[in-house]
Assembly symmetry: C2
Homo-oligomer: 681 residues x 2
C-alpha cells in the first residue's frame, strides 16, 4: 500500500511542468505561426530575411496577404517604416525589415491597432564590444567573447560561429541595432593586421543581411606597432598616409565598414597628446582617412589626467575648447555621466556644451558597477533618466536626447552606443534579466522617447509569455514589471544612495570598499577621494565653494545643483559635502536617511525574491531557477553593501543605526578583507 501511495505522489508532483528554456532564444521565442502570403516588389538578402521572419512569426489573420511597399514620402525617414493595414511601407530594405519585426512584435503582444509608424532617433545604433583578441571580455560577465578566442590562430569562422553570429545579428536587427564594434576600446593594434581584418570581413558578411555594420576600435599607436613607422604623430605625413592606406585596405574587404572607435590619451592608451598634438589633430587625421569611403570616427571623451582637478570636470575642460574644430565625420562619444557608469550620476555637462560638434551618448549595458550579471537591474530607467535630462542648452527642453539625436542641430548623422553585455554563455548575458538591458538599449536607440515601463512590458511578454497571452497579467507581468522598474533605484539604495559614487572595491568594481585608499595610485581611483567622509559629514563638494563642477552646467541647473537646499537629493553627495546632521526633505537627518536607504535597498531585494518565487510554475523551471539563484546572490550582496557602507561611515558619523532597522550581521574588519571578486562567492 505504502509504495503505491508514494508512486502516486511522485507522479502528481511531476505532472505540472513547462517546457524548459535556456534563454538562448532571447525575446524571439515564437515558432508556430499562421499562414501568410508576402508580396515584395523586389528581392534582396535583407528582404528575404524579412519575408522569412513574417512567415515564421505571423499571428495575424490566417491566410492574409502582406505587401512590402517602397515609398518616398517625407514621413518615413532613414530606415523608418509605416505599418498600414496589410502593408509595410519603407524607403529602404532595412526599413522593411525593421517594420517586419515591429509588426510581429505588435502581433505577439496582442496589440489590436496594427497601424503604426516609426523612424529611428539615431541613424547609428551601435553595440560596443569590449572584447579582447585573446577571447576575454573586459567588464564581461557572460563568458568569453563571441568573436575572438584564446589561441585562435586560424581566424576562420566555424559553422557554429556562423550560426551564432546569425542569431546575434537577428536579435540586434529585431530591436533596430545597426552597428557593432567588434573589439575592445582598449584596443590591440593587431586588429588592423590582414589576418584579423579578413576575419572581420567574414563576420561582416554574416551580419550584413541583418543591417548590422561592423566598426573597429583602433589603437592610436598602430602605425608604429603594425606599420613599423617610427612615430604615430598625426601631423606627420607618413602616419597620415598609413591610416589612409589602412582605411582603403579595410574598405576593399568590407565596402560598408562603419568606422573607427577611439579611446585616446585615456587610462594609459596612446593618443595625439603623446606627440604634443590635440584630440582634434588625432581625430581629424582618422576622419580624413575614412572620409572617402563614408566611414566615421567615434572619438571618446572619457579622458582625465592625474591632476588635482576634479576628475568629473576634465572631459568638459579638454573637449569644449575644440568645439567646431572636428571634421564632419567625427562624433564625440560621451558616457552618460561625467564620471564612469555609476549607479547614478547627473548627466555629463558636455552633452549640453558641444554645439558645433556632433556628440553621442555611450551607455553601459554590461553591469560593471551594477552587480555584474548577478544583480537584477533594469538599466532602461537609468538611460531614460539621462536622455530626458534637460541640459538647458537652448533653454527648457534641451534634453540630452535632443542634443544628441539631431533634433536641435542639423547633422549628417547621429549615433548612440551601448557597451555590450554579451558573451558565450548559453543565455548570452549571464542573467536572464540582463537580456532586458540589451533589448532596452536597442529600443531606446531606435526611439529615445520610449518609456522604460513600456519597454519592460514588451520584453517580459516576449521573453516569458506565449503570444497574446493575457491571463498572466496580474500574476506575472504586473509584479515583474514593477520589480524591473524599481530595480535600478533599489541598487542605488543598497550601493550608493543620495549621490554617493565610486565607493567600489578596487579593480573589479563588484563589492563595496568605501575604505579603499592607496597612496601608491592616483587619488581619483580610490573611494575616499569620492566620498570625503569626515566627522562633519560626507560627500564631494562640487559647488562653487568646492571644485565648482556645477559651473559646467547651464542655468538654472548650475544654481539648482550649487545650492544644498535646491540640489535634488539623489545628487546631494555628488555635489555637496553635507553635514551628518543636515535635515532632508522628509525630516530625517543625513545619517538617518543613509541608514534607511541602505536598509530599504536590502529589504526590497528580499521583496524581489518573494515576487520572483511567487511566479514559480508560471514559467519554465530552468529560467525560473536561474533567476531565483541570481536573486539569492543579490540578496546576500545587498546585505554586504549595507553593512560595509553603514559600518564604515558610522566611524565618522559617530551615530547609531536607528534601532528600528535590522542590524549589521558582518564585522567591518571582515568585510574589509573581501578584496577580490571571488571573495563574494
Amino acid at each position: 500500500m505504502k509504495k503505491i501511495t508514494l508512486l502516486l505522489i511522485i507522479i502528481t508532483a511531476t505532472t505540472h511542468f513547462l517546457k524548459a528554456e535556456d534563454g538562448h532564444q532571447l525575446w524571439l521565442r515564437h515558432t508556430a505561426a499562421k499562414q501568410v502570403k508576402v508580396v515584395s516588389p523586389r528581392k534582396s538578402p535583407v528582404l528575404t530575411i524579412a519575408v522569412q521572419e513574417i512567415k515564421n512569426g505571423w499571428l495575424g489573420k490566417d491566410g492574409a496577404e502582406l505587401k512590402f511597399d517602397f515609398v518616398k514620402d517625407g514621413s518615413v525617414t532613414d530606415d523608418g517604416f509605416r505599418l498600414e493595414g496589410n502593408k509595410i511601407a519603407a524607403k529602404t530594405d532595412l526599413g522593411i525589415l525593421y517594420g517586419s519585426y515591429e509588426l510581429l512584435r505588435r502581433q505577439y503582444l496582442g496589440k489590436s491597432d496594427q497601424n503604426y509608424a516609426s523612424n529611428p532617433s539615431y541613424s547609428r545604433r551601435i553595440l560596443n564590444h569590449w572584447d579582447n583578441l585573446d577571447g576575454s571580455v573586459e567588464r564581461g560577465y557572460a563568458g568569453a567573447s563571441i568573436f575572438w578566442r584564446q589561441g585562435d590562430s586560424s581566424l576562420q569562422l566555424s559553422e557554429a560561429d556562423i550560426a551564432l553570429y546569425k542569431e546575434y545579428a537577428r536579435a540586434n536587427a529585431s530591436i533596430g541595432i545597426n552597428g557593432t564594434v567588434l573589439n575592445n576600446v582598449n584596443a590591440s593594434a593587431k586588429i588592423l593586421t590582414i589576418a584579423y581584418l579578413q576575419k572581420v570581413q567574414a563576420i561582416a558578411t554574416v551580419l550584413r543581411p541583418y543591417g548590422l555594420k561592423v566598426y573597429l576600435s583602433v589603437n592610436f599607436s598602430s602605425p608604429v606597432t603594425v606599420g613599423k613607422l617610427k612615430t604615430a604623430d598625426p601631423l606627420v605625413p607618413a602616419v597620415r598616409h598609413w591610416w589612409a592606406a589602412k582605411a582603403k585596405e579595410i574598405y576593399s574587404l568590407i565596402p560598408d565598414f562603419g568606422g573607427f572607435l577611439v579611446k585616446a590619451n585615456s587610462e594609459g592608451q596612446p593618443g595625439p597628446q603623446n606627440f604634443g598634438r590635440t584630440h582634434v589633430d588625432g581625430a581629424n587625421m582618422m576622419a580624413d582617412a575614412l572620409s572617402p569611403f563614408g566611414g566615421i570616427v567615434m572619438w571618446r571623451a572619457f579622458v582625465y589626467q592625474p591632476s588635482n582637478e576634479d576628475r568629473t570636470k576634465q572631459a568638459y575642460n579638454e573637449f569644449l575648447k575644440f568645439d567646431g574644430k572636428f571634421k564632419k565625420n567625427v562624433i564625440i562619444q560621451i558616457k552618460n555621466g561625467p564620471l564612469d557608469f555609476q549607479p547614478r550620476e547627473p548627466f555629463s555637462p558636455l552633452f549640453g556644451a558641444m554645439i558645433k560638434t556632433p556628440v553621442m551618448p555611450e551607455f553601459q549595458i554590461t553591469q560593471e558597477y551594477l552587480g555584474w550579471s548577478n544583480h537584477l537591474v533594469f538599466l532602461s530607467t537609468l538611460w531614460e533618466e539621462c536622455l530626458q535630462s534637460d541640459t538647458y542648452r537652448n533653454g527648457k527642453g534641451s534634453t540630452v536626447a535632443a542634443c544628441t539625436d539631431g533634433t536641435m542641430d542639423k547633422r549628417t548623422f547621429s549615433a548612440i552606443a551601448g557597451v555590450s553585455n554579451i558573451g558565450l554563455e548559453r543565455n548570452w548575458t549571464g542573467h536572464i534579466f540582463a537580456q532586458a538591458n540589451w533589448y532596452a538599449f536597442g529600443r531606446l536607440a531606435w526611439d529615445n522617447k520610449l518609456k522604460s515601463e513600456d519597454i519592460a512590458d514588451e520584453w517580459i511578454r516576449q521573453t516569458f509569455l506565449s503570444p497574446t497571452e493575457k491571463k498572466m497579467e496580474r500574476t506575472f507581468v504586473k509584479p515583474i514589471k514593477e520589480m524591473m522598474m524599481q530595480s535600478r533605484e533599489v541598487a542605488v539604495d543598497y550601493m550608493m544612495p543620495l549621490g554617493l559614487h565610486h565607493i567600489f572595491a578596487e579593480g573589479h568594481h563588484y563589492g563595496p570598499a568605501p575604505w579603499f585608499s592607496n597612496k601608491a595610485i592616483r587619488a581619483d581611483w580610490t573611494s575616499v577621494y569620492y566620498h570625503n567622509a569626515d566627522l562633519l559629514g560626507v560627500g564631494f563638494n562640487r559647488s562653487s565653494t568646492g571644485s565648482n563642477a556645477v559651473e559646467q552646467y547651464h542655468e538654472p541647473l548650475r544654481s539648482t545643483f550649487n545650492s544644498l537646499e535646491s540640489c535634488p537629493e539623489e545628487y546631494l553627495l555628488w555635489f555637496h559635502h553635507v553635514p551628518w546632521t543636515y535635515k532632508l526633505k522628509n525630516g530625517n537627518d543625513l545619517w538617518t536617511a543613509l541608514c534607511y536607504r541602505y536598509d530599504s535597498g536590502l529589504q526590497r531585494v528580499r521583496a524581489f525574491q518573494r515576487i520572483w518565487d511567487s511566479t514559480k510554475g508560471l514559467i519554465d523551471d530552468e529560467r525560473f531557477r536561474s533567476v531565483q539563484s541570481k536573486l539569492k546572490i543579490q540578496s546576500r550582496d545587498a546585505q554586504v553593501w549595507k553593512d560595509a557602507c553603514l559600518l564604515y561611515f558610522q566611524q565618522f558619523s559617530k551615530r547609531e543605526i536607528p534601532y528600528d532597522l535590522e542590524r549589521p550581521i558582518y564585522e567591518l574588519d571582515t568585510l574589509k578583507k573581501l578584496t577580490k571578486s571571488k571573495d563574494y562567492e
Copy 2:
C-alpha cells in the same frame, strides 16, 4: 576654525564611556563597600572567607554588626542557612558562607526584605569538566582547560593557577556549587597515576576553603592500563583489590575526595560488559572501594548499542532491570533527555522509572548542540522545563525535580551535575551570556524550584548593573531579560522546531546537516535516522505503531505522547512521523508551520540584535561589543539553519515556502559543502 570644531567633536564623542570590563569578574563585580563588623563564634578557613566576602561587599547599613549564628533547628538542613536581621544562621561553616553570598546578593539586587531562608535541593551540586589531560576540552568553546595543559610534565601549580582556581572556586561557592569533576568522562587512565593525583591534591587544597570537593572521572580499564593487571573484570579479586587500594591512596592525599564519575560501555569506553559483567557489577565494585572513605560513584546511564533498537529507548532498557541492585553510594547520572542534549527533548523516562536507586540529572552547560559559545541561549528555561516535567511516577506531581532531589524517596544523598562551559578565555565562557548558564546551573542546583526569569534577573543585575541600580529597569533589565527568556525557544525554532532533533552536522554539531547520512557509520549517528523525511511526512515514529518509546513513560503521559492529536506540538516530530499536510492547532499544516518556525527563529535573532544594540552606552563598551559580535554570528547562523533545513525538507514536502516569508538566500548545494565547523566562520 575647522580644526577646533573637529577637536571639540572628538572630545564630545569620547566623554561618554564606561569602565571597560572583560567579563572575568563574572557576576561578582562589586568592590567598594560600606563598613561592617562581623562577629563569628569560631574560626575556620571557610569562615575567614565568609568574613572577607562580607567586608568586601557589604551594602547594608554603614557600620552595622553582623553575627554568624550556628543553629541546630530542623528548619536548616545540610549547608542551608537563614538570614534574619543582622544574623546569618546555619548548621555548618559552608552554610554560613552560602548565607553570606546570598545576603550580599540580596543587598546588591536592592531587595528590601533581608530575611530569607534557604536549604539546598541537592546535597551534591557538581560541575563536570570534560577536560582532557592534554589541555583540550571536549565540547569546550572557551579556550583550553583551566586544569590541564598540553605538554605539562611538571604538574605543579603556578601562582597564576592558584589565583585562577581561587577565582573559580569563589564563583562556584557564590552560587552554591560544591563539587567538581576535574577531567573528561572519556577518561584517560593516567589521572589515577601518582603524578596526576598529586596535582589533583594541590587543586583540591585551593578549592577546599570554598566548599568545593574534587571528583575524578575514571577509566574502567585503569587496573590494566595503570595497574598492569591482566584484566579489569570487576568480579576478579585482584581488580577489586586494585580499586580499593587506589581509593585508599586517593583519600590519603585528599581526605574529602568526592568520588568517581564513570562512563562505561558507552561510545567505545570500556566497562564491565567487556568482561561479560553488568553495570551493577562494575558500579558496585567501585562503590565498595570508595565506601570506607565516604566516596560515591556517579554511574552514567548514557549507553546505547549499535542495534536496530530506537536509541532513545536503550538507557531505560539497560538500567531499569538493575533498579535496587546498586550499592547505597552509587547514583545513576541521567542526561535530561533520552537522546543527547538536543535543543529540546522530552525528559528521560528513566527519571520516573528508577525507584530503588538514586538518580541524578546531568545537564549540559556547554552548548554542544546550541551554537557553541557563539549563540546567546539561556539554558535555564531548558533545565527548568526538565525539572518541572511530571513523570507521573507516583501520580501527578512526580516531577523530575522531585524524583531526583529526595522529595519522593528517602536518600542518604542527592546530586545534580552540569557539564561545564569553562575554559581559559578571559571571560571564562567565551560568550558573556554563557556565564548566565554557569550561574543558572548553580542556582537551580541549589534550589530547583527557582524560576528562570528570577535567575535571569539576578544575573543581569549583578553582571551588568551597579549595586541597587534601578534606573536601567526599562532600558536594560526588562528587554535583556525578555531576550534571555525567549532565547532557547528561538534557538529551537531556527534549529529544529516541532520536535525535530539531531539534524546537526556530523562530529562538530555546530551547523545544520539534515542531509547527513553515511552507510559506513551507525545509523543513529546520522541525521536521516532521526527525521525520516519522505514524500509523506517527517518525524520519528516512537508511538505504539513505531518504536513504541512512549511505553517507557507512565500514564497519562504514555497516551498523551502516543496520540498525534494529544501530543504536545513541541514534541510532535519526536514521537510521530507526521504528514506534511497534517493540520496543527493554529490551522497551519505541518510544512507551513515548519516554515514559519524557522523564519520566526531568524527574525527573532535579528530582534535580539536590535535589543542589544539599543543598550549601547548603558554598559561598558568591551562587553557590549563582544556580545554584539556574537549576535551577528548567531544571526548569520540562523539564516544558514533556516535555509538549509527548509530547502532540504522542501525536497520531500514538494511545497513552496509561504510567499509572505523571507526567501532563502543560499543554495542547498552550497550549504551541503559546509561540513567543517570552520566553514561557518
